[in-house]
Symmetry: C2
Subunit: 313 residues, 2 copies
């Protein structure tokens, strides 16, 4: 995706507009932001993060993302010594500095470097918080988010189970997704979804999955991130008079649904017109999906869901 004019407020920010980071109180181009090669965030993937979208100059549902980020840190016993209010200030300062009016904004806390040479004890590490942002990322390309995308169902890999890594704590354990992505690209599909060991639908790299059947919205209850965009679509679904079912979703049932859609903070709602060889609604985006997508972008402009960024900070 190239940087379009409407993504940046003005040219003052050009050196940071392709990406910037906040580390230890300093703002820098993202190309200068790095973490040590022996940080446990890298060498043990002992790290959590969250990503909030900036849309037309405002954070969307920021409090939801901040709450989840702090819950994740708490679950992992990570304490970098920052409050929600501190993080919120950093994110404002960071996005303001870039001038980006549409952005993908990551907040990250890592276990850090072990301060006791040779120690294998996570409690000896110095936890640290940082943030970075880049121009808005579409998990599904914008043209496909209008016309419909294809998903491959991974056959060589199943989703890491909840009993091993908690998917509600947003994490970088993406080995299963990456293996699935290679399989999907070989199959000519845009992206991939993973099943659990019982053949139920879980999620894909960066998105939740929904089936639509007879005015019901069905999305998996287990083995998945409780996405903020997933939550938004459940709320929108109820507003539109749909029934919402949060429960296990066998792949066979997904194949028999009327429509399939995915939700992601990187693009909102995208229609899926093909899963493996099964084509949905004659290959065009489904009606229910498109009414949800339309409503999603309306929500993104409603003051109650937005926290405006002051670009003159």
């Amino acid at each position: 995706m190239t940087q379009s004019n409407e993504d940046v407020a003005d040219s003052r920010h050009s050196d940071l507009a392709s990406g910037a980071a906040w580390m230890r109180g300093e703002i820098m181009p993202i190309t200068q932001a790095s973490i040590p090669v022996n940080d446990w965030g890298l060498i043990h993937s002992d790290i959590t993060y969250d990503v909030v979208p900036v849309w037309e100059g405002a954070f969307f549902r920021l409090k939801h993302y901040l709450s989840r980020f702090f819950r994740s840190m708490n679950t992992l016993h990570l304490d970098p010594g920052v409050t929600e209010s501190d993080v919120e200030s950093v994110l404002h300062e960071l996005v303001s500095a870039t001038g980006l009016r549409r952005a993908y904004v990551a907040m990250v806390t890592s276990r850090g470097v072990n301060m006791v040479p040779g120690s294998r004890d996570p409690r000896d590490c110095r936890n640290h918080f940082f943030a970075w942002c880049v121009p808005y990322i579409h998990v599904i390309r914008p043209d496909l988010a209008r016309s419909g995308a294809s998903i491959h169902v991974a056959r060589t890999v199943t989703r890491i189970p909840e009993a091993s890594v908690d998917p509600r704590v947003k994490n970088y354990h993406w080995g299963d997704f990456t293996k699935g992505l290679f399989e999907a690209k070989d199959a000519g599909a845009e992206t991939v979804m993973l099943l659990d060991s019982d053949g139920n639908v879980t999620e894909g790299p960066g998105f939740n999955v929904f089936a639509v059947k007879d005015n019901r919205l069905i999305t998996p209850d287990a083995g998945v991130l409780e996405g903020i965009s997933r939550q938004t679509v459940l709320e929108i679904g109820r507003e539109l008079g749909l029934t919402t079912d949060i429960r296990s979703l066998p792949l066979e049932e997904l194949f028999q649904s009327d429509e399939v859609l995915i939700t992601t903070s990187g693009g909102g709602v995208a229609p899926i017109t093909k899963v493996d060889d099964r084509v949905f609604s004659n290959g065009a985006p489904g009606e229910v999906t498109m009414s949800i997508q339309k409503r999603y972008f309306e929500w993104a402009t409603m003051p109650e869901h937005r926290i405006e960024i002051d670009y003159d900070l």
Copy 2:
């Protein structure tokens, strides 16, 4: 662990002796070696590594580690454009520069930064290789490697299954281990071992597990890294006239064994004298374990297993 005099060849190397890295042809103190915050090695744990021990001025079984590292890269479709011979040269140059005669030497290949802004395709990333080393790390503290260590069996987490992430490809997906480590520390144990979903023993953070029963050495065949130290102990076991069984090892069987030991490139062979509340061989290291440990350190001095480092490079 503090740096002892015998770990360093001489004082010429003092600025690098606490840790150094090789990145893009340069050698630097490890505190200056870092990777970008948006490298897929970090943000998707899309990375592989290996760790070869340096003992008394020589690499131990280096070719085994190099072969595994290149198999891992191949499985993950990682190609940083280096040969085994290139990596071997880098490791020699790196350790020589530090002067360390006992060291923990990591070779790493990361997927890298995605070169296409907004792309979610791993094939758009620029893969890169780097290496770092620090003074020798004992996965089990040296005093406990003589007197015996305690292991807690994790109850709140099971090992990430092979169907999700291949444990034979050395990886940084340690969320399950880290959760288990917190549980172990709460239980007052030195470290942790994880079971699979059927209650079979798998491995711990950085080591393989063996049971000894009636002159048989039993170690799990699935859900584990095929450790080089594990392989060495299997070879030593046969040399000592023991039978070796590589098969599933239920926890109940482990509890009924005569001795338990672990193997790791960070320390070789360590006796486990306690697993949960079960005490083995009256709390003292077992005889079979100690004869294997003794033989392991003999192997580490045998020319056929060593590649000497030239510290005058």
